[in-house]
Subunit: 125 residues, 2 copies
Amino acid sequence: MTELRENVERYWRAAEARDWTAFAGTLAEDVVYVLPQTGERISGRERYVRFNREYPGDWHARIERVVAGPPDQVVTWVRCTVGEEEMDALSFFTGDASGRISTVTDFWPEPYEPPTGREHLVERS
Amino acid sequence: MTELRENVERYWRAAEARDWTAFAGTLAEDVVYVLPQTGERISGRERYVRFNREYPGDWHARIERVVAGPPDQVVTWVRCTVGEEEMDALSFFTGDASGRISTVTDFWPEPYEPPTGREHLVERS
């Protein structure tokens, strides 16, 4: 579990540094990446590294929170910036027996206007 | 940490059962609820229970994954359904010294069309 957590922290550091060799080293060979919002799935380390290496834009990722718990699960909340734009990325990781990342399920929530009818309960920043 | 995890599981069961007394019992009196996507914030147990009690629609929540880790953090990934519509809710919890929920940060990611240019790497479900 600690190994998975360390690998996940290394994964984000390597992505931020564009160090694709170090990034690949955190992944199981049969890693599966899933984006539930688009229904996309990428299978295998080689393809997944390529997906990240080819990802357009001068993006930067800063870890906001890491939660690691049994059995073999880690969640990260990351702030990603591309120029002036800032987004949250929420990633659910599972690991293999050696602590390498075997699945990544990524969510990218976007801003939206709140529904009316609850102004009496909320403040807005 | 275990107490916080138990409280978080009780929180979802109580919400699903519309048992607002049990729901309130999982929360610290000064609980803060944050929705980063809308910039909304709700402060205090009474208001937050009321927000949930008044939330419109015949919604149902089913826990997909729980990750609980030190120090005092729990994340849930919940599938919410309202009629035919299904959504993921991702919630980051922190607890107070007695294991009651002191902050909830909720994300509601929505489906989107994938950008072009990565079809050579992905499958779609």
